[in-house]
């Protein structure tokens, strides 16, 4: 009996204590979780916040992992090697296609984007989007032999027909660098469309086509237009700026070998239409643009979607050497669409211009030319064909894997593991969710669609609140928003849990709401894993220019230039304090429109604000200047009316220089280190 008492007594005490404390503890935990998530039904799971939302420290290292995230790829001339751009690994991975494994890893710059091989196949040029340069990689020694300076955010790359020049699309500075390969110097900088992405030279090597991701700046309600920039390869001059109407996110472009067509994936958004339903393509459609390569050639748009099935986020395109088939990666639905190009030629030939215009909005037309949809791993991005055209390699971006597809059987014949972290962390799962359209009714769009690269798409949407036509809303960037609640312009959602919860499903995705597991993962990714790129354009090293310093003084001033004290509420720094340049409070800056419901707006964070036009809650200001020159006359949005034109420019120069706190910290560390060295 004594033996049992020794066990029973402590158990009994624990049970009694448990019974006494369970109820108050449960009540406290419920209140705590409700407070932290701003919801009333999130499960009492401590790990949700206390493990997965840690941004640094031991716990963060334990729960997170490093990934390669293959983004684009190229195949060697003999088909033996694949050169895979690992976006998060900051490396170029060399894959032996016979051995099916990675044989070399070459460290390149920050966030590599694209790759092009020299004609002899001995050199690779890798654009580093967050380093503003191109790594020149010797593929015989697998070393970086040179680094070529580019414009802001180099993305797509192409070589001139004679192989002497490298064209680099600068996605952040919206221009095209023409680099003389022999000297490594930038020979020219040509203006391109808004956020150029893909660069390709046409079949006869006479013209270079540059696609764009963002639309040209237009007021809400105008037909959106995205620029396809066409450059004479010989003269290296822009010969045409073609408006592609009602489309954007034209990531890449490819030419048929015969040179009769150029085909580019694109998205056709419905931002001018009230967001009242998803059915029948009322929110977003996905397709291709076809550019006829002949005098007065037309630009035709055809949807890849079907009446009850959408193929979100088309990204890359590859065309077989015989010109018969094209493959488009649909990153948002994990599949490759196989296109019969002859069927497209026939369709175009037998259709009038008016009919073709209708096809751009017709969900049934894809049945005329789509041969098959091939399933892939998570988030297929870059595509490359083997030299004989028999194999298609697919960069499975969020799978750390390359898929190998037979272009004859149209079946996946194998996969090549790149050797990244084998486990899928909670934040990684969240990233997959953000990039996948499976959580939207009929897969019409993913979070990524309106937030490409977790940023914003530059469009203004009619969110149709009380009545249709009300609440015109400028898309906000997701970068580093974890630390700047509340969310939405009206600040109604205090946490990501609430933002992406049931209301999100009712209004935006219109299908089953995220499960709590998925919601935790999404929150983990958004709260911890979306940094801004370094602001290399306006503030590369933390040292402000003289003009920016003047602007900073204006930003922080307490008295105007006439000597009068500026009321605290009218000082820039009051509502926009560092490090995120937001006080996270609601404000009236005199921009309320008759079509707006709420009176106050969330004060946005300003880091990397230069990259987020248009501005204000309804995107009415096309530039930072317009915030005050056109829409800030009452001084409600800061005291600026005493500023001269030059002083306003200085203030704007300073605003453009704002960057994430982590870069400020790094700069300070570098500065201290250099002092120590001295």
């Amino acid at each position: 009996m004594r033996k049992y008492l020794k066990i029973l007594l402590p158990v009994g005490v624990i049970c009694i204590l448990g019974a006494i404390f369970y109820s108050p503890y449960h009540t406290w935990a419920r209140k705590h979780v409700n407070l932290m998530t701003a919801t009333e039904d999130h499960p009492l799971n401590c790990a949700s916040c206390h493990l997965y939302l840690q941004k640094s420290g031991v716990i963060s290292k334990l729960v997170n992992a490093h990934y390669y995230s293959p983004f684009n790829l190229a195949v060697s001339n003999d088909g033996r090697y694949l050169y895979v751009v690992a976006e998060e690994g900051n490396t170029l991975l060399v894959v032996d296609t016979k051995k099916q494994k990675v044989t070399h890893k070459v460290e390149v710059g920050n966030r590599p984007h694209s790759i092009i091989l020299s004609k002899d196949g001995n050199t690779a040029y890798v654009s580093n989007q967050w380093s503003d340069n191109v790594s020149v990689v010797d593929l015989t020694s697998f070393t970086v032999t040179d680094t070529l300076k580019t414009g802001g955010g180099p993305a797509g790359v192409a070589l001139s027909a004679d192989g002497k020049y490298l064209y680099v699309a600068n996605s952040f500075s919206s221009d095209l660098s023409v680099i003389d390969i022999s000297t490594g110097a930038e020979r020219k900088r040509l203006n391109a469309g808004n956020s150029p992405a893909g660069v390709q030279i046409n079949a006869d090597g006479s013209l270079v086509f540059v696609t764009s991701r963002r639309t040209l700046s237009k007021p809400f309600g105008d037909t959106i237009r995205c620029e396809l920039t066409i450059i004479n390869d010989n003269k290296q001059r822009v010969v045409e700026r073609r408006d592609v109407k009602s489309a954007y996110i034209m990531e890449n472009i490819s030419f048929t070998p015969s040179g009769d067509l150029a085909i580019m994936p694109l998205v056709r958004p419905k931002n001018n239409v009230p967001t009242i339903q998803i059915e029948r393509g009322w929110m977003m459609t996905n397709g291709i643009g076809i550019v006829e390569q002949k005098p007065s050639g037309r630009t035709i748009q055809l949807l890849l979607d079907e009446p009850n099935a959408y193929y979100a986020d088309p990204f890359d395109i590859a065309i077989t050497p015989d010109g018969k088939r094209a493959f488009v990666s649909n990153a948002g639905v994990d599949c490759i669409t196989v296109i019969d190009i002859d069927a497209i030629r026939k369709l175009i030939a037998e259709s009038t211009n008016e009919t073709l215009k209708t096809y751009a909005n017709h969900l049934g037309i894809s049945s005329r030319f789509v041969l098959k949809r091939i399933r892939t791993g998570a988030n297929p991005k870059g595509l490359a064909l083997s030299p004989d055209g028999k194999k298609l390699y697919v960069a499975e971006h969020l799978e750390d894997r390359i898929a190998v597809i037979s272009t004859e059987s149209l079946e996946t014949t194998g996969t090549i593991d790149l050797g990244g972290s084998g486990r899928i962390t909670v934040a990684r799962h969240g990233r997959r969710l953000l990039n996948n359209a499976g959580h939207t009714f009929q897969n019409q769009y993913s979070c990524y669609t309106c937030h490409p690269d977790a940023h914003e798409d530059g469009l203004v949407y009619n969110m149709a609140s009380k009545d249709m036509g009300r609440n015109i809303t400028n898309t906000q960037s997701l970068r580093n928003i974890g630390d700047t609640p509340p969310y939405k312009w009206n600040g109604k959602n205090q946490t990501v849990y609430k933002q992406d919860g049931m209301r999100f499903s009712t209004v935006l995705t219109r299908t089953e709401a995220f499960s709590y597991r998925d919601l935790d993962a999404l929150a983990a990714y958004i709260m911890t894993g979306i940094p801004n790129p370094p602001n290399l354009q306006y503030n590369p090293n933390g040292e402000l220019t003289e003009s920016q310093k003047h602007g900073k003084a204006i930003f922080e001033r307490t008295h105007n230039f006439k000597g009068y004290e500026i009321p605290i509420v009218n000082r820039c720094v009051t509502c926009h304090p560092a490090p995120y340049y937001t006080n996270k409070k609601m404000a009236d800056v005199g921009t309320l429109a008759a079509s707006d419901d709420s009176i106050l707006f969330d004060t946005p964070h300003l880091n990397n604000i230069f990259a987020s036009p248009p501005y204000l809650h309804d995107g009415r200001a096309a530039s930072l200047e317009e915030i005050w020159t056109l829409y800030g006359k009452t001084e409600q949005h800061g005291s600026v009316n005493d500023l001269t034109k030059i002083q306003l420019n200085e203030l704007i120069e300073y605003l453009k220089a704002l960057r994430d706190p982590e870069y400020e910290q790094k700069s300070t560390e570098i500065l201290h280190a250099s002092f120590g060295h001295k």
Partner: protein, 477 residues
């Protein structure tokens, strides 16, 4: 003490195990993998869309269960009912919804059976027939109920309720007969719907969200076709159902359409097969069960069917006394998505936006049939007009219509001549917002990305004599 423990403990364990074993061997239980069939003694009749009869609701019908490959194991599950039919299995495979008459003169009502112990409980208790139950994700069910009132006159409308019968909601509000509902994997309801007023139209498959919003045509056969069974979604993205020609209603064909593009992918899977099909159960991409009366046979029996080879296979079950009218498989199934609802019952109206009433689709063959430009619309109720509304210069209009009220729209020219229409019946649920691109739109067209002039103004209230609706304001964003 020691001896006692060694005796008592094993005995307790043994007794417990025996209890569990006995419980699991309950002879009454309907096990996973069994097929449930609806058997009817009379000759099968063509569905009557007006009375709602003949939808497997035949006097004396019963539900039986058997293990595939063992027809002799057939046992009747509904021996306590005068008639029972239309079984539907819950997503966890443990319960069955069915419709039944307890006694001969009673109305048909919805029941649920626990497949483990075969205990039944009544879910609906109305004077009118309640039929075609189907489980909804989230603990509710949908069913058809005869509804007679001023709004729909006399029609078979769809309703939803909780599994205990509470929380009854009507979700269709048109003078249509809606039957044989199923739930698609995307969470929407797919129902056979036939317009009854003012003229009877051919039946079609109509799709809608479980709250009755976004009701729309899913499939419509060639002129005069009759849909005679509920539709089923297969694992390879097809919708299969039975369709008959108007002239030969007793010759049901097994038809498949693609979920992705239902209006243009019809395939008659039984082309060239002599027989009358009355139901289908897809078990896999290349394996269906069909209920069919083969040529020369007097009764309907259950057969295997290969949709790839388009051929009828072996007989699975036949009964000399009964027609086998349909089958369901007892198994756990993937739950369809549970769709959120925008319906707010405190709101009295819904909004409808049309982009351009004069939209002409050059792809449609009849696009040049009438080039008169319409400048107005007339909104018609069941037996009255709700008014004439002038549309904007771009052909757009925005209506705020009384919720749960059927209406049709026709377009008029400046002299009030009818240009097009009226369209089929529409209704808006409370707080529903929906759009269309034109009055004779191609269902496969998406809207042009433009701001319609109509949304720059407040919506026009329907009926037009109502100048103001005081109601709760809902902010969606």
């Amino acid at each position: 003490m020691k001896i006692k423990r060694t005796i008592i403990l094993p005995n307790i364990v043994l007794i417990s195990l025996s209890c569990i074993l006995m419980a699991s061997c309950n002879s009454k239980s309907v096990k996973n993998g069994m097929l449930l069939v609806t058997e009817a003694p009379q000759n099968i009749q063509t569905p009557d869309y007006i009375s709602g009869e003949s939808w497997r609701y035949l006097a004396g019908a019963r539900i039986s269960a058997f293990m595939p490959g063992k027809p002799s194991s057939l046992k009747v599950l509904t021996e306590n009912f005068f008639s029972a039919s239309s079984p539907k299995i819950s997503y966890d495979g443990r319960f069955m919804l069915f419709t039944a008459q307890q006694k001969q003169d009673e109305s048909w009502q919805i029941w649920e059976m626990n497949l483990y112990n075969r205990k039944c409980r009544k879910i609906t208790s109305f004077n009118d027939n309640c039929t075609d139950p189907v489980y909804l994700p989230g603990g509710r069910l949908a069913f058809t109920k005869l509804t007679i009132n001023d709004t729909v006159k006399s029609a078979h409308c769809l309703y939803t309720c909780n599994l205990d019968g509470s929380g009854l909601r009507q979700i269709t509000f048109s003078p249509n007969a809606c039957f044989a509902t199923t739930v698609l994997k995307d969470g929407r309801l797919l129902t056979v719907s036939r317009q009854l007023l003012p003229d009877k139209e051919d039946p079609m498959l109509m799709v809608m969200r479980p709250d009755g919003t976004k009701a729309d045509m899913f499939y419509k056969g060639a002129g005069g076709s009759v849909l005679t069974s509920s539709a089923h979604e297969t694992s390879d993205g097809k919708i299969v159902f039975i369709e008959a020609d108007k002239g030969t209603p007793a010759a049901g064909r097994l038809v498949s359409v693609s979920y992705n593009r239902p209006l243009h992918t019809r395939i008659d899977l039984t082309s060239g097969i002599a027989g009358n099909f009355c139901s289908v159960l897809p078990l896999g991409p290349d394996n269906y069960l069909v209920s069919c009366c083969m040529s020369g046979s007097e009764r309907y029996a259950l057969y295997e069917f290969d949709p790839v080879k388009k051929s009828v296979g072996q007989e699975v079950l036949t009964d000399p006394e009964y027609n086998i009218l349909g089958a369901v498989l007892v198994e756990e199934n993937e739950r369809p998505k549970k769709l959120p609802s925008e319906v707010d019952l405190q709101v009295k109206t819904g909004l409808l936006l049309c982009q351009d009433i004069n939209f002409l689709n050059p792809m449609l063959p009849d696009n040049s049939s009438d080039i008169r430009k319409a400048i107005k619309i007339e909104v018609l109720g069941v037996d009255t007009t709700y008014g004439v509304v002038e549309v904007e210069k771009d052909g757009s209009f925005q209506l705020k219509a009384m919720a749960d009220t059927p209406f049709r729209i026709r377009t008029l020219d400046e002299k009030n001549n009818i240009v097009n229409g009226p369209c089929s019946w529409l209704w808006l649920r409370p707080n529903e917002r929906r759009g269309c691109i034109g009055c004779h739109e191609d269902p496969e067209m998406v809207p042009e990305n433009k701001v319609s002039l109509a949304i720059r103004k407040p919506p026009v209230i329907i009926p037009v004599h109502v100048t103001e609706v005081k109601e709760k304001i809902v902010e969606l964003e």
